[in-house]
Amino acid sequence: MSPQGEGALLHGVEQATVELGGQSRRVAQPRSEDELRGLLTHLKEAKRRGEGQPVAFLGRGSSMEWCCPSLWNGAEPDRALWISMESLVESGGTGIIEYVPGDGTLTAQAGARMETLRAAVHEGGHRITPAGSAHGQSEGGTLGGLLASGGSSIDRCRFGPTRHHVLGMRVQEATDRGPIKTGGRLVKNVTGFDLHRLHVGGRGTLGAILEASLRLVPVPEAEVLVISKPFASTAEATVAALEVRAQPGIQPRALFVARRVVHVLLAGRERQVEEELSRTTAGLDADSVERGPHVEGQALKAAHRRSVVTIATAPSKVKGVVQGLEAAGIGPLYVEPDAALVEFDEEALSSVNADQIAAAHGGLDPRHAFVTLLRAAPPINGLRSALAERQSPPAAVRVWTERLRSNCDPDGILESADFPLRGASNP
């Protein structure tokens, strides 16, 4: 973030104009939680006076494109106010509040940078899951941004989604309450409601994450990345990947298909990894086998994509979905067979319409496949409205969502056009 000029104080909080994502943006930079709270109070009052403006919390902006597309890419970028969470981290500091290697837990400020955190826990023999940002994006984001975006990474195959590793948080809602604590810093805890789960993937619409505690995973003794030869189609590669998944005795840390190539990341005890490697290569024609601590990064790079459409389905239906999409000429596709995610980017979408995507899987029965449009996906003929119609949330979910919003953000200052239930992300 490179400040281009100091603006006026906004209710005692520094404001700067910052060049971010190819645009100049107005960024408020609170230096303390009190300043942040004061700013939110000011914004609420302004909203009540009818002087509202779009507001969103900002990490490094690395996930904004698909998290907050309307505001990020919207027509009036200068109207929006971005509240930097990074500025709450003491200058020169890491944002780490507590790293307890002996307990395998990390507590850090939301504005802490992921690469800083990863480096710090690596010293103690730990890693953070998710292994990278969502969509294999290169790092550069903050902890708060990562959690608020709700994305998971390739290692969900082994460890599950990001939300399962958040132990607790401190959060500043847009209410009159002070910062609230939910969960804790321990690996096990059932005191009270798990409110933090609402903020993981909540895109900052229920408040700002101030701190979060994570469960860490050990650095493995050995790591191997198996890269297959390219298959003739993504469907064939998907079948091969599903076979790896079904084979007993292999517990991949990551398993995905990118550009018709199957990637299998194995990690763990040395001899075990060798054993799993031989089982993997027995069924999969490997183009190369990479060893060493760098292979996770290599896998992340291979998984990097700029998806605009994500289809969630079930492992048993992945193949059908992929075949359908390929038959409609959509490709290349990114596939995680275990999480049953199929994604594709703009290129793949050049000539597609709703019926073609629908035909890809059983008429898009929302019980079997859920389609999400990411980022400001280019308008696809009828897709958005077709999805809105077929994938509408249950009535009660609308009610609960509304109540949640008004509880945590009674004045609606954090309202987003994209989330939770309308706009590009959730048609």
Partner: protein
């Protein structure tokens, strides 16, 4: 108008029509049997017990009960230890004991869809032939239900590696106060409709609605499973060994510790596991995964144990032997019934670097007060269960137990710990919430409750302290359990 149990004659008839003759109980005996769960110190009977067989029946029953102005306490098998599954005073208990069908086991997609009343171990049995298993295994797994596990975010020994229930729930069917049925999640990997509502619903102790069906994740059965038993002459050394295993980032699937008194109780019960009587502490460890992984990890663990003074160890992969070793651990709580008329069971969690410290605090607090303390805990998670035995008829002894309990809890909080790791808050830990949360924190919880249950219809009066936090000091154990509230 109201004839029985706060229900009019026609409402009672309607309920019977919905759930059948055996599904509605208003007789004194039935009410009495539902006046407490595994938490025995306080009791209050419901005015009616309703046992639906399906989501549809439950939803219809909820509407009748709501119209009658009765609040509802959801209940599984009533094995909870925090008083969460019994009423504060009157109202209806809605039990899921007759909703015990495993609706689907999907071998390829690795999930199961079950009715809420399915017993935890029955689910594991049902997916056994598919080579899959359901990971959360609370010690009461032979009786407790999946619905109850969801309500309490239950753990169990294997929670160390696999995590508590919340990491295994993919979808829920929820009946709300209007009797509306909502399906959340399903087999998809992430929340589809905005916020992750399943997150806060798991562990909500029946306060947000009635969960009638659950979709859970199943895992492939590990290729190899080994159970290790390490014997220590000293509980402190045993705790330190666990801290060291965590610090070395070893990854067994469970690490449990039982102290001498617990061992004696277990060995005297039907669950005799063959734990040697000459040990001051027994460490029970399970390692699972690929054969090589298990071999390497077991070696490392035995090495650490030895370094910390384990004088003997056993290692077995024989399923029958393993089951026996585990049966002893799982029945430990019940087996305490043999050595004490009453038991104060704490459920604290501390950072795993500080196990020994807190165990010592507990031991000193009890010794100084002439109390007998038995320890059995999920050491791998830092989840301690100091059990203090007492006799509730001895009022003076009860007050000493209260003192010791307060000291243990304060030490945990000071160490950055938590006051319940898996038993839930319910009624038992309600007041202690104030030791961990501010009024603002609790306010946020209250407003979550209002999101799902604005009319305070579901399990009212639980978890969130009713009184302001400043009024609460140390909660006395009820001296005598003769009083019935309802």
């Amino acid at each position: 108008m109201a004839t029985m149990a706060g229900l009019s004659r026609s409402q009672l008839k309607e309920l019977t029509r919905i759930v059948g003759d055996r599904g509605v109980r208003t007789d004194a005996g039935a009410k009495s049997a539902y006046e407490s769960d595994g938490f025995m110190l306080e009791r209050a009977a419901p005015s009616v017990v309703v046992l639906p067989r399906s989501t549809q029946e439950a939803a219809q029953a909820v509407r009748v009960l709501r119209d009658a102005g009765l609040v509802i306490v959801p209940r599984g098998a009533g094995t909870g230890l925090s008083g969460g599954a019994r009423p504060i005073a009157g109202g209806a208990v809605l039990g899921t004991a007759r909703m015990r069908e495993v609706l689907e086991v999907n071998e390829v997609d690795r999930y199961a869809r079950v009715q809420a009343g399915v017993v935890n171990v029955h689910l594991s049995n049902a997916c056994d032939s598919a080579g899959l298993f359901y990971a959360p295994d609370p010690s009461s797994q032979t009786a407790c239900t999946i619905g109850g596990n969801v309500g309490n975010n239950s753990g169990g020994p294997h929670g160390f590696r696999y995590g508590s229930t919340t990491r295994h729930v993919l979808g829920l069917t929820l009946v709300d106060a209007d009797g509306e049925i909502t399906e959340l999640g399903g087999a998809f990997p992430d929340p589809c409709h905005g916020y992750d509502l399943i997150g806060p619903l798991v562990g909500s102790e029946g306060m947000l609605g009635l969960v009638t069906e659950v979709t859970v994740k199943l895992l492939p059965q590990p290729e190899t499973v080994e159970t290790l038993l390490c014997l220590f002459e000293d509980l402190d050394a045993c705790c330190d060994a666990v801290s060291e295993m965590i610090a070395r980032r070893l990854e067994p699937s469970a690490i449990e510790i039982l102290d001498r008194l617990t061992i004696e109780a277990v060995e005297a019960s039907v669950l005799r596991a063959g734990y040697p009587a000459n040990a001051e502490a027994v460490m029970l460890i399970e390692v699972d995964g690929g054969a090589h992984e298990v071999a390497a990890t077991s070696e490392d663990i035995l090495q650490v144990a030895k370094e910390f003074g384990a004088f003997d160890s056993r290692r077995t992969s024989d399923p029958k032997e393993r089951k026996k070793l585990w049966a002893g651990r799982k029945g430990a709580f019940g087996a305490m019934g043999r050595i004490a008329p009453d038991l104060y069971v704490a459920d604290v969690v501390v950072p795993r670097t500080r196990l020994r410290e807190i165990v010592q605090v507990a031991a000193e607090a009890c010794t100084a007060r002439g109390l007998r303390l038995a320890n059995v805990f999920h050491a791998g998670d830092g989840n301690l269960h100091p059990n203090i035995s007492y006799d509730r008829r001895d009022k003076e002894e009860v007050s000493r137990v209260v003192e010791a309990g307060a000291i243990i809890m304060q030490a945990c909080v000071d160490a950055g710990g938590s006051l319940t790791g898996e038993h839930g808050v319910g009624l038992e830990k309600q007041d202690e919430m104030c030791m961990l949360f501010s009024n603002d924190d609790l306010g946020a919880m209250k407003s979550l409750k209002a999101v799902f249950d604005p009319a305070e219809f579901w399990n009212p009066g639980k978890m969130i302290p009713v009184r302001g936090c400043r009024e609460i000091h140390t909660k006395p154990l009820p001296i005598d359990q003769g009083e019935v509230v309802s």
